[in-house]
Amino acid sequence: MTRPPHSTPTPTNLTTSPTDRWLAALPVLAPLTGPAGTAERLLLCLHYGIDWPNSWVGRYRTTYWSQILPDRVLKSTYRANTLASWWTQVSTDLTSTPRNPAERAETAALLQADSRPVLHILREQTPALLLRVRLVADAVRDQRTAMHPTPAELPGTQAGVDLVSAGRP
Protein backbone atom coordinates (compact mmCIF):
# COMPACT_ATOMS: atom_id res chain seq x y z
CA MET A 1 0.00 0.00 0.00
CA THR A 2 1.47 3.26 -1.00
CA ARG A 3 0.96 6.43 0.92
CA PRO A 4 -0.78 9.15 -0.91
CA PRO A 5 1.71 11.85 -1.80
CA HIS A 6 2.07 14.36 0.97
CA SER A 7 0.41 17.59 0.05
CA THR A 8 0.25 20.74 1.99
CA PRO A 9 -2.93 22.69 1.54
CA THR A 10 -2.25 26.05 -0.02
CA PRO A 11 -4.28 28.70 1.74
CA THR A 12 -5.92 30.85 -0.90
CA ASN A 13 -5.05 33.99 1.04
CA LEU A 14 -1.37 33.54 0.19
CA THR A 15 -2.04 34.12 -3.51
CA THR A 16 -4.21 37.21 -3.23
CA SER A 17 -3.45 40.61 -1.82
CA PRO A 18 -5.39 42.12 1.08
CA THR A 19 -7.27 44.45 -1.25
CA ASP A 20 -8.06 41.53 -3.59
CA ARG A 21 -9.67 39.72 -0.67
CA TRP A 22 -11.63 42.75 0.46
CA LEU A 23 -12.84 43.50 -3.05
CA ALA A 24 -13.79 39.85 -3.55
CA ALA A 25 -16.34 40.22 -0.75
CA LEU A 26 -18.46 42.31 -3.13
CA PRO A 27 -18.37 40.45 -6.44
CA VAL A 28 -21.19 42.51 -7.95
CA LEU A 29 -18.85 45.52 -8.03
CA ALA A 30 -15.98 44.83 -10.39
CA PRO A 31 -12.72 46.30 -9.08
CA LEU A 32 -11.56 49.45 -10.80
CA THR A 33 -8.46 49.27 -12.95
CA GLY A 34 -5.61 51.60 -13.80
CA PRO A 35 -5.12 54.75 -11.72
CA ALA A 36 -8.69 54.51 -10.42
CA GLY A 37 -7.97 51.00 -9.22
CA THR A 38 -4.85 52.17 -7.44
CA ALA A 39 -6.82 54.96 -5.80
CA GLU A 40 -9.54 52.54 -4.69
CA ARG A 41 -7.04 50.10 -3.20
CA LEU A 42 -5.11 52.83 -1.41
CA LEU A 43 -8.33 54.04 0.16
CA LEU A 44 -9.10 50.50 1.30
CA CYS A 45 -5.64 50.25 2.88
CA LEU A 46 -6.21 53.59 4.53
CA HIS A 47 -9.58 52.57 5.93
CA TYR A 48 -8.47 49.21 7.26
CA GLY A 49 -5.34 50.67 8.82
CA ILE A 50 -7.23 53.03 11.12
CA ASP A 51 -6.65 52.27 14.77
CA TRP A 52 -10.27 52.50 15.82
CA PRO A 53 -9.93 51.75 19.52
CA ASN A 54 -7.07 54.16 20.14
CA SER A 55 -7.38 57.00 17.65
CA TRP A 56 -9.49 60.11 17.63
CA VAL A 57 -11.31 58.79 14.55
CA GLY A 58 -13.02 56.21 16.73
CA ARG A 59 -14.93 59.01 18.48
CA TYR A 60 -16.38 60.20 15.18
CA ARG A 61 -17.88 57.06 13.69
CA THR A 62 -21.17 58.77 12.92
CA THR A 63 -19.49 61.28 10.61
CA TYR A 64 -16.61 59.13 9.43
CA TRP A 65 -17.97 58.29 6.00
CA SER A 66 -19.77 61.59 5.36
CA GLN A 67 -17.17 64.08 6.57
CA ILE A 68 -14.03 62.82 8.31
CA LEU A 69 -12.74 60.49 5.62
CA PRO A 70 -13.69 62.46 2.46
CA ASP A 71 -12.50 65.78 3.91
CA ARG A 72 -9.11 64.44 4.84
CA VAL A 73 -8.59 62.47 1.67
CA LEU A 74 -9.39 65.53 -0.42
CA LYS A 75 -7.47 68.07 1.65
CA SER A 76 -4.35 65.94 1.48
CA THR A 77 -4.47 65.81 -2.32
CA TYR A 78 -4.24 69.59 -2.46
CA ARG A 79 -0.86 69.57 -0.73
CA ALA A 80 0.73 66.51 -2.26
CA ASN A 81 2.63 66.18 -5.48
CA THR A 82 3.35 62.49 -4.98
CA LEU A 83 1.40 59.54 -3.64
CA ALA A 84 3.98 59.13 -0.91
CA SER A 85 3.40 62.69 0.25
CA TRP A 86 -0.38 62.25 0.09
CA TRP A 87 -0.21 58.98 2.05
CA THR A 88 2.06 60.51 4.65
CA GLN A 89 -0.36 63.34 5.29
CA VAL A 90 -3.62 61.43 5.24
CA SER A 91 -2.41 58.39 7.16
CA THR A 92 -0.92 60.60 9.85
CA ASP A 93 -4.08 62.63 10.03
CA LEU A 94 -6.28 59.56 10.39
CA THR A 95 -3.80 57.51 12.48
CA SER A 96 -3.83 54.76 9.90
CA THR A 97 -1.06 52.19 9.63
CA PRO A 98 -1.08 48.91 7.67
CA ARG A 99 -1.65 46.19 10.22
CA ASN A 100 0.46 43.27 8.97
CA PRO A 101 3.23 42.42 6.49
CA ALA A 102 0.82 41.74 3.62
CA GLU A 103 -0.95 45.08 4.04
CA ARG A 104 2.36 46.89 4.42
CA ALA A 105 3.76 45.28 1.30
CA GLU A 106 0.70 46.06 -0.78
CA THR A 107 0.51 49.67 0.44
CA ALA A 108 4.16 50.20 -0.41
CA ALA A 109 3.63 48.70 -3.86
CA LEU A 110 0.58 50.84 -4.54
CA LEU A 111 2.50 53.97 -3.58
CA GLN A 112 4.98 53.22 -6.38
CA ALA A 113 2.34 53.97 -9.00
CA ASP A 114 2.51 57.04 -11.23
CA SER A 115 1.36 59.71 -8.79
CA ARG A 116 -0.26 62.31 -10.98
CA PRO A 117 -3.19 60.36 -12.47
CA VAL A 118 -3.96 58.66 -9.15
CA LEU A 119 -3.92 61.95 -7.25
CA HIS A 120 -6.11 63.46 -9.93
CA ILE A 121 -8.73 60.77 -9.39
CA LEU A 122 -8.49 60.99 -5.61
CA ARG A 123 -9.10 64.71 -5.91
CA GLU A 124 -11.84 64.69 -8.54
CA GLN A 125 -13.78 61.57 -7.58
CA THR A 126 -13.54 61.40 -3.80
CA PRO A 127 -17.20 60.72 -3.02
CA ALA A 128 -17.56 58.12 -5.76
CA LEU A 129 -14.44 56.25 -4.66
CA LEU A 130 -15.40 56.32 -1.00
CA LEU A 131 -18.86 55.05 -1.85
CA ARG A 132 -17.23 51.96 -3.29
CA VAL A 133 -14.89 51.63 -0.32
CA ARG A 134 -17.82 51.79 2.06
CA LEU A 135 -19.73 49.17 0.09
CA VAL A 136 -16.71 46.87 0.20
CA ALA A 137 -16.23 47.50 3.92
CA ASP A 138 -19.87 46.67 4.57
CA ALA A 139 -19.56 43.46 2.54
CA VAL A 140 -16.37 42.42 4.34
CA ARG A 141 -17.97 43.04 7.70
CA ASP A 142 -21.08 41.09 6.77
CA GLN A 143 -18.96 38.25 5.45
CA ARG A 144 -16.88 38.16 8.62
CA THR A 145 -19.98 38.21 10.76
CA ALA A 146 -21.58 35.40 8.78
CA MET A 147 -18.46 33.23 8.96
CA HIS A 148 -17.65 33.84 12.61
CA PRO A 149 -20.70 35.02 14.43
CA THR A 150 -20.52 35.62 18.13
CA PRO A 151 -23.56 34.42 19.98
CA ALA A 152 -24.75 38.01 20.10
CA GLU A 153 -24.35 38.37 16.36
CA LEU A 154 -26.44 35.37 15.43
CA PRO A 155 -29.17 36.38 13.00
CA GLY A 156 -32.42 36.96 14.66
CA THR A 157 -30.93 38.16 17.93
CA GLN A 158 -31.54 41.72 18.96
CA ALA A 159 -27.81 42.25 19.48
CA GLY A 160 -27.12 41.12 15.96
CA VAL A 161 -29.65 43.56 14.57
CA ASP A 162 -28.22 46.30 16.75
CA LEU A 163 -24.68 45.76 15.41
CA VAL A 164 -25.79 46.09 11.83
CA SER A 165 -28.03 49.09 12.41
CA ALA A 166 -25.31 50.88 14.42
CA GLY A 167 -23.42 51.33 11.15
CA ARG A 168 -20.19 49.99 12.57
CA PRO A 169 -17.55 50.52 9.91
Binding site: I68, K75, Y78, A80, N81, S85
Partner: protein, 282 residues
Protein backbone atom coordinates in the same frame (compact mmCIF):
# COMPACT_ATOMS: atom_id res chain seq x y z
CA UNK B 1 -6.71 113.58 -23.95
CA UNK B 2 -6.85 110.02 -22.58
CA UNK B 3 -4.27 107.29 -22.31
CA UNK B 4 -4.13 103.56 -21.84
CA UNK B 5 -1.56 102.59 -19.25
CA UNK B 6 -0.52 99.07 -18.30
CA UNK B 7 1.32 98.02 -15.15
CA UNK B 8 2.86 94.54 -15.01
CA UNK B 9 3.09 93.60 -11.36
CA UNK B 10 4.93 91.10 -9.21
CA UNK B 11 3.40 90.63 -5.76
CA UNK B 12 5.42 89.14 -2.93
CA UNK B 13 3.80 87.78 0.19
CA UNK B 14 5.51 89.24 3.27
CA UNK B 15 3.35 87.10 5.50
CA UNK B 16 1.20 84.12 4.61
CA UNK B 17 -1.91 84.91 2.57
CA UNK B 18 -5.43 83.64 3.21
CA UNK B 19 -7.86 83.58 0.27
CA UNK B 20 -10.83 81.46 1.18
CA UNK B 21 -12.41 79.07 -1.26
CA UNK B 22 -13.89 75.77 -0.16
CA UNK B 23 -14.40 74.72 3.45
CA UNK B 24 -13.83 71.14 4.58
CA UNK B 25 -14.77 70.43 8.15
CA UNK B 26 -12.87 72.96 10.24
CA UNK B 27 -10.39 73.70 7.45
CA UNK B 28 -10.74 76.70 5.16
CA UNK B 29 -9.07 75.94 1.86
CA UNK B 30 -7.67 78.29 -0.73
CA UNK B 31 -9.67 79.33 -3.73
CA UNK B 32 -8.70 77.20 -6.70
CA UNK B 33 -9.20 77.36 -10.43
CA UNK B 34 -8.67 74.83 -13.16
CA UNK B 35 -5.56 75.62 -15.16
CA UNK B 36 -4.83 73.92 -18.46
CA UNK B 37 -1.17 72.96 -18.12
CA UNK B 38 1.00 71.17 -20.67
CA UNK B 39 0.58 68.07 -18.48
CA UNK B 40 -3.21 68.36 -18.35
CA UNK B 41 -5.88 70.07 -16.26
CA UNK B 42 -4.98 70.89 -12.67
CA UNK B 43 -6.70 72.70 -9.80
CA UNK B 44 -4.31 75.49 -8.82
CA UNK B 45 -4.77 77.97 -5.97
CA UNK B 46 -4.60 81.60 -6.98
CA UNK B 47 -5.88 84.98 -5.86
CA UNK B 48 -8.82 86.42 -7.75
CA UNK B 49 -8.68 89.78 -9.46
CA UNK B 50 -11.76 90.61 -7.43
CA UNK B 51 -9.78 90.34 -4.20
CA UNK B 52 -6.96 92.52 -5.50
CA UNK B 53 -9.39 95.05 -6.94
CA UNK B 54 -11.28 95.23 -3.68
CA UNK B 55 -8.15 96.17 -1.76
CA UNK B 56 -7.29 98.83 -4.34
CA UNK B 57 -10.81 100.21 -4.21
CA UNK B 58 -10.64 100.62 -0.46
CA UNK B 59 -7.27 102.36 -0.68
CA UNK B 60 -8.76 104.72 -3.28
CA UNK B 61 -11.80 105.45 -1.14
CA UNK B 62 -9.61 106.29 1.83
CA UNK B 63 -7.32 108.54 -0.22
CA UNK B 64 -10.39 110.35 -1.57
CA UNK B 65 -12.07 110.50 1.82
CA UNK B 66 -8.98 111.96 3.50
CA UNK B 67 -8.29 114.49 0.73
CA UNK B 68 -11.85 115.84 0.53
CA UNK B 69 -12.76 115.28 4.21
CA UNK B 70 -15.81 113.31 3.22
CA UNK B 71 -16.50 111.64 6.55
CA UNK B 72 -20.02 112.37 7.71
CA UNK B 73 -21.01 114.09 4.46
CA UNK B 74 -22.39 111.35 2.24
CA UNK B 75 -25.61 109.35 2.12
CA UNK B 76 -25.38 105.59 2.49
CA UNK B 77 -25.66 104.80 -1.23
CA UNK B 78 -22.76 107.09 -2.10
CA UNK B 79 -20.64 105.77 0.75
CA UNK B 80 -21.23 102.20 -0.42
CA UNK B 81 -20.59 103.13 -4.03
CA UNK B 82 -17.19 104.54 -3.14
CA UNK B 83 -16.17 101.89 -0.60
CA UNK B 84 -17.35 98.60 -2.03
CA UNK B 85 -18.83 99.42 -5.42
CA UNK B 86 -22.43 99.79 -4.30
CA UNK B 87 -25.31 97.55 -5.30
CA UNK B 88 -27.79 97.37 -8.11
CA UNK B 89 -31.28 97.79 -6.73
CA UNK B 90 -34.46 99.66 -7.53
CA UNK B 91 -33.94 103.12 -6.19
CA UNK B 92 -37.05 104.94 -7.37
CA UNK B 93 -36.77 107.69 -9.91
CA UNK B 94 -34.97 107.45 -13.21
CA UNK B 95 -31.59 105.83 -13.68
CA UNK B 96 -28.70 108.18 -14.32
CA UNK B 97 -28.53 109.41 -17.89
CA UNK B 98 -25.51 108.66 -20.02
CA UNK B 99 -24.44 112.30 -19.80
CA UNK B 100 -24.72 112.34 -16.03
CA UNK B 101 -22.80 109.04 -15.75
CA UNK B 102 -20.00 110.51 -17.86
CA UNK B 103 -19.94 113.63 -15.67
CA UNK B 104 -19.62 111.63 -12.46
CA UNK B 105 -16.88 109.46 -13.97
CA UNK B 106 -14.91 112.54 -14.95
CA UNK B 107 -15.52 114.40 -11.71
CA UNK B 108 -14.94 111.60 -9.18
CA UNK B 109 -11.80 109.57 -9.97
CA UNK B 110 -12.79 106.78 -7.57
CA UNK B 111 -15.82 106.14 -9.77
CA UNK B 112 -13.98 106.87 -13.00
CA UNK B 113 -11.38 104.23 -12.13
CA UNK B 114 -13.38 101.57 -10.29
CA UNK B 115 -16.94 102.22 -11.42
CA UNK B 116 -19.88 101.49 -9.16
CA UNK B 117 -23.51 100.46 -9.03
CA UNK B 118 -25.90 103.17 -7.96
CA UNK B 119 -29.12 104.89 -8.98
CA UNK B 120 -30.30 101.73 -10.66
CA UNK B 121 -27.41 101.62 -13.06
CA UNK B 122 -23.90 100.30 -13.50
CA UNK B 123 -21.26 102.98 -14.00
CA UNK B 124 -18.27 101.22 -15.44
CA UNK B 125 -14.74 102.25 -14.60
CA UNK B 126 -11.61 102.18 -16.69
CA UNK B 127 -9.59 99.84 -14.48
CA UNK B 128 -8.85 96.19 -15.23
CA UNK B 129 -7.16 94.14 -12.52
CA UNK B 130 -5.47 90.82 -13.17
CA UNK B 131 -5.62 87.73 -11.02
CA UNK B 132 -2.58 87.11 -8.86
CA UNK B 133 -1.10 83.90 -10.22
CA UNK B 134 1.50 82.16 -8.05
CA UNK B 135 4.89 81.36 -9.51
CA UNK B 136 4.76 77.56 -9.54
CA UNK B 137 5.71 74.96 -12.09
CA UNK B 138 2.09 74.52 -13.18
CA UNK B 139 1.80 78.19 -14.18
CA UNK B 140 5.14 78.68 -15.95
CA UNK B 141 3.43 78.81 -19.34
CA UNK B 142 1.16 81.62 -18.08
CA UNK B 143 3.50 83.74 -16.00
CA UNK B 144 6.63 83.17 -18.04
CA UNK B 145 8.44 82.59 -14.75
CA UNK B 146 10.22 79.27 -14.37
CA UNK B 147 9.74 77.45 -11.09
CA UNK B 148 10.68 74.08 -9.73
CA UNK B 149 8.06 74.36 -6.98
CA UNK B 150 4.74 72.65 -7.57
CA UNK B 151 1.51 74.23 -6.39
CA UNK B 152 0.89 71.00 -4.51
CA UNK B 153 4.09 71.44 -2.51
CA UNK B 154 3.69 75.20 -2.06
CA UNK B 155 0.59 75.67 0.06
CA UNK B 156 0.44 74.99 3.78
CA UNK B 157 -2.15 74.40 6.46
CA UNK B 158 -1.93 76.70 9.48
CA UNK B 159 -3.68 75.54 12.62
CA UNK B 160 -5.27 77.83 15.17
CA UNK B 161 -6.97 77.34 18.50
CA UNK B 162 -9.91 79.20 19.88
CA UNK B 163 -9.27 79.01 23.58
CA UNK B 164 -12.09 78.68 26.05
CA UNK B 165 -10.66 80.05 29.28
CA UNK B 166 -13.89 81.15 30.88
CA UNK B 167 -13.37 78.72 33.74
CA UNK B 168 -9.79 79.80 34.40
CA UNK B 169 -9.03 81.62 37.63
CA UNK B 170 -8.32 84.86 35.77
CA UNK B 171 -11.58 84.85 33.81
CA UNK B 172 -14.12 87.56 34.55
CA UNK B 173 -16.67 86.68 37.20
CA UNK B 174 -20.05 85.90 35.74
CA UNK B 175 -23.38 87.04 37.09
CA UNK B 176 -24.68 83.81 38.64
CA UNK B 177 -28.17 84.65 37.45
CA UNK B 178 -27.00 84.37 33.85
CA UNK B 179 -25.27 81.01 34.24
CA UNK B 180 -27.16 77.99 32.93
CA UNK B 181 -26.13 74.95 34.96
CA UNK B 182 -28.57 72.65 33.22
CA UNK B 183 -26.33 72.14 30.20
CA UNK B 184 -23.58 69.50 29.86
CA UNK B 185 -20.65 70.05 32.19
CA UNK B 186 -18.11 69.87 29.36
CA UNK B 187 -19.86 72.47 27.20
CA UNK B 188 -16.73 74.21 25.94
CA UNK B 189 -16.00 76.70 23.18
CA UNK B 190 -12.50 75.34 22.76
CA UNK B 191 -11.81 74.41 19.19
CA UNK B 192 -9.01 73.91 16.71
CA UNK B 193 -9.36 74.99 13.14
CA UNK B 194 -7.02 75.35 10.22
CA UNK B 195 -6.55 77.66 7.27
CA UNK B 196 -4.78 76.85 4.06
CA UNK B 197 -2.44 79.66 3.03
CA UNK B 198 0.18 80.77 0.55
CA UNK B 199 3.41 80.90 2.54
CA UNK B 200 5.33 84.11 3.10
CA UNK B 201 7.72 84.58 0.22
CA UNK B 202 5.32 83.36 -2.44
CA UNK B 203 5.50 85.48 -5.58
CA UNK B 204 2.59 86.20 -7.87
CA UNK B 205 2.24 87.75 -11.29
CA UNK B 206 -0.56 90.23 -11.86
CA UNK B 207 -1.36 93.32 -13.88
CA UNK B 208 -3.31 96.56 -13.78
CA UNK B 209 -4.58 98.48 -16.77
CA UNK B 210 -6.33 101.78 -17.16
CA UNK B 211 -8.16 101.95 -20.46
CA UNK B 212 -8.56 105.40 -21.97
CA UNK B 213 -8.11 107.12 -18.63
CA UNK B 214 -7.91 110.86 -17.99
CA UNK B 215 -4.89 112.56 -16.45
CA UNK B 216 -6.84 112.79 -13.19
CA UNK B 217 -7.70 109.09 -13.16
CA UNK B 218 -4.13 108.06 -13.99
CA UNK B 219 -2.68 110.29 -11.28
CA UNK B 220 -5.20 109.06 -8.73
CA UNK B 221 -4.62 105.39 -9.53
CA UNK B 222 -0.85 105.80 -9.56
CA UNK B 223 -1.07 106.99 -5.97
CA UNK B 224 -3.30 104.03 -5.11
CA UNK B 225 -0.74 101.64 -6.55
CA UNK B 226 2.08 103.37 -4.68
CA UNK B 227 0.16 103.03 -1.41
CA UNK B 228 -0.68 99.40 -2.14
CA UNK B 229 2.93 98.61 -3.01
CA UNK B 230 4.26 100.13 0.21
CA UNK B 231 1.64 99.18 2.79
CA UNK B 232 -0.76 96.86 1.03
CA UNK B 233 -2.68 93.97 2.46
CA UNK B 234 -4.29 91.14 0.53
CA UNK B 235 -6.68 88.38 1.40
CA UNK B 236 -8.32 87.61 4.70
CA UNK B 237 -7.41 87.31 8.38
CA UNK B 238 -5.46 90.55 8.34
CA UNK B 239 -6.13 91.01 12.04
CA UNK B 240 -3.94 88.01 12.91
CA UNK B 241 -0.98 88.80 10.71
CA UNK B 242 -1.90 87.40 7.34
CA UNK B 243 -1.83 89.25 4.07
CA UNK B 244 1.18 91.56 4.14
CA UNK B 245 2.42 92.13 0.60
CA UNK B 246 4.81 94.19 -1.41
CA UNK B 247 4.47 95.06 -5.08
CA UNK B 248 6.91 95.82 -7.88
CA UNK B 249 5.55 97.21 -11.14
CA UNK B 250 6.70 98.07 -14.61
CA UNK B 251 4.72 100.77 -16.36
CA UNK B 252 3.95 100.91 -20.06
CA UNK B 253 1.95 103.55 -21.91
CA UNK B 254 0.05 101.46 -24.41
CA UNK B 255 -1.78 104.25 -26.17
CA UNK B 256 -2.25 108.00 -26.03
CA UNK B 257 -0.34 110.14 -23.62
CA UNK B 258 -0.93 111.89 -20.30
CA UNK B 259 0.42 114.70 -18.20
CA UNK B 260 1.21 114.27 -14.51
CA UNK B 261 -1.35 115.95 -12.32
CA UNK B 262 -1.64 116.89 -8.64
CA UNK B 263 -4.95 115.17 -8.19
CA UNK B 264 -5.41 116.33 -4.62
CA UNK B 265 -5.31 120.02 -5.47
CA UNK B 266 -7.46 119.37 -8.52
CA UNK B 267 -10.17 117.70 -6.44
CA UNK B 268 -10.03 120.21 -3.61
CA UNK B 269 -10.98 122.93 -6.10
CA UNK B 270 -14.09 120.93 -6.97
CA UNK B 271 -15.02 119.59 -3.54
CA UNK B 272 -18.50 121.06 -3.48
CA UNK B 273 -19.36 119.79 -6.98
CA UNK B 274 -18.06 116.33 -6.09
CA UNK B 275 -20.15 116.08 -2.93
CA UNK B 276 -23.24 117.28 -4.80
CA UNK B 277 -22.69 114.66 -7.50
CA UNK B 278 -22.22 111.89 -4.93
CA UNK B 279 -25.37 112.93 -3.08
CA UNK B 280 -27.31 112.39 -6.32
CA UNK B 281 -26.51 108.66 -6.13
CA UNK B 282 -29.52 106.88 -4.65
Amino acid sequence: MTATVHWAGELTARSSIVHAGDTRGTATLLRRETIATPQGLELIPLISGNAVRGRLRRIGEELLRDTLELEGTLPLTAAYALRNGGSLHKSGGNPLSGRRRAEIRTLVPQIGVFGCAASGTIIDGCLQVGKAIPHVSETEHITGIESDVSAFDLVQLETYSHTDDLNDHAAPTLDPATVDDTGPADDSNQMRYSIETFPAGTRFSTHFRLDRATDLQIAFFTDILTTFAATGRLGGRLAIGHGLISLDTQTEIVGGWYEPLDWRHHLLDQRADIIDALRELR
